[in-house]
């Protein structure tokens, strides 16, 4: 029996070994290294000397860092809540349909989500193209002239947020759809008996019962959008990146363009901490929900 147990332990460690190796080398080690690097003045590749908290002190005085924090927060504000509400709205519209009609309509809403970001970029760069873009028709109607959306400072972030919502909403729609399916139809029938109107039904039944899913989607979105890089980087290509710089992009520019490995690591630690704080909040939030 004891032999048996011992062999079970050996087998268990053998099974875990490949994962433990990848996890240790590709996750734990880089994390430790990131923290260490943030206390040095090392370039991207090569050794540096220990400078203590200097990078962090510099960070607090760095206007471009705070701009990137502000832009990230702005992007989060522009995407998280709208994306969640639009997802709920579309899911409610889709859930009314049945059978193949539902599948087709759902696929039309979901398809953008499985596209690579560079394809999304190409499609929307063409949609908004200054000379020939089809979106110039409504833009001309609104602003009276053709508008270079991604070259106009105040329009850039809202436009990227708009494209991002179009791209990622499918995920939220799926979650809401499964949430809506789990609401018992009896409740709706009872409401119909009372001749409740659509708005009352939504406010009194759907909204409170779907709230757990809404909270989940909001927190997933929040953590996802804090890590924004791809879209901003792609749409700003050929223009000035500084005014619309976001956090991950600032890490990228410090590390890979300015060759400031140590400083980039310090900003990485900041991002790391921000995301973990929000994740812990999410976890507490969801646990509180579970206990109810």
């Amino acid at each position: 029996m004891i032999r048996n147990q011992r062999s079970e332990v050996v087998v268990a460690y053998l099974l875990i070994l490949p994962f433990a190796l990848t996890y240790g080398v590709l996750f734990l080690w880089p994390t430790v290294q990131m923290v260490y690097l943030s206390f040095t003045d090392a370039p991207l590749i090569g050794a540096g000397t220990w400078i203590g908290l200097e990078n962090y002190v510099e960070m607090f005085d760095d206007r471009r860092f705070w701009t990137s924090v502000k832009n990230t927060a702005y992007f989060v504000a522009l995407t998280v809540i709208p994306n969640t509400l639009i997802g709920l709205g579309i899911a409610m519209m889709v859930s009314r349909l049945k059978g193949w009609q539902q599948s087709v309509i759902l696929a039309m809403f979901f398809l953008p989500y499985i596209l690579p970001v560079s394809v999304v970029y190409r499609i929307w760069a063409w949609m908004f193209n200054l000379q020939f873009g089809i979106m110039q028709y409504p833009l001309t109607w609104i602003f009276g002239e053709k508008t270079p959306v991604f070259r106009t400072q105040w329009m850039f972030m809202p436009a990227v947020a708009f494209v991002t919502i179009w791209w990622t909403c499918g995920f939220n729609i799926l979650l809401f759809l499964s949430g809506l399916r789990s609401i018992s139809t009896d409740i709706y029938e009872a409401a119909a008996l009372d001749n409740a109107n659509r708005w009352t039904i939504f406010r009194r039944i759907t909204w409170p019962l779907i709230w757990p899913v809404t909270a989940l989607v909001l927190t997933i979105q929040l953590i996802l959008q804090l890590k924004i890089f791809d879209q901003v980087y792609l749409f700003v290509q050929g223009g000035r990146p500084d005014p619309s710089m976001v956090l991950v992009q600032y890490i990228y520019s410090q590390a890979f363009q300015k060759n400031e490995g140590g400083y980039a690591a310090a900003i990485s630690v900041a991002l790391f901490v921000i995301v973990i704080v929000f994740s812990v909040l999410q976890f507490q939030f969801l646990r509180a929900r579970g206990e109810k």
Binding site: E8, L15, I90, L115, V119, R122, I123, F132, F256
Partner: protein, 297 residues
Amino acid sequence: MSAVESQSADARAATSSARSRTIKSIDIGGLILTLITVIFAVLWAFPIYWGMVTSLKPESQVISDTVEFLPRTWSFEAYWHVMVNTMIGRWYVNSLVTSLGVTAITLVTSALTAYALSQLRFPGRTVLWFLILASFMVPLTALIVNHFILMAQLSLINTWMGVILPQLIHPVVIIVYKNFFDSVPKEYREAAKMDSASEWRIFSRIYLPMNWGVTTALSIVIFIGAWNNFLWPFLAVSRPEMMNVAVGITQVNDAFGVQYARELAGAMMAAMLVAVLYLIFQRRVTQAIMLSAGVKG
């Protein structure tokens, strides 16, 4: 007894008449809602359609001031040009190899670990499980600098391995597998133990085959995720011939000229494989997304 029955029958009649009344009265409203849904869905999918149609027009029709929802003449010139004048074939191979690599390695390492966590008792089990749960919160994006340094130290920049390795951290796959292995009835394992089957045999003949559905679902979403990943493949590769297709179509600027049909043809080709995968495995993709989000909840 009969009084109760007739009462409930009355109630049922009242319910159904009320229902039919409301159905009649909201019918027009419902029809309008359906119509709005369809219009909205068409608008939502339109950019994809528009990109595709544009890529199938000759360049002279692309840069016209009128909007034509179908090409006057269909042309594959843009696709032909992209295939001949860019390295898109090579990029496709790179994407395929690295995405399959990420999928296969992630699935194998995760399934083995999940089996050990779910079925075996060993010292450190709880610690490992908490480490995995905790790493769920960690933003891998914050590790790009050190992933790059590590890959450079291992001389893996501009290689397939360099693209694959940092994408292997998917704690959610272990969590999903563990949940499914936990719910396999204990009797199977006990019976196999009686026949003195090895752990490997139990895993590969019972636990894995019983969960093929999960494996399929997970593998499709991991594959699509790796195919679509931009940031890391973009950092890990600078040589055009080693780029993934999603990176290649945006980074090789002179690859297309400034010809819109060609840019879009490249984009359509980059999206083709995952779009087809999704359309074939729609239900699996949906299932996998639910699974991974459900765990988060």
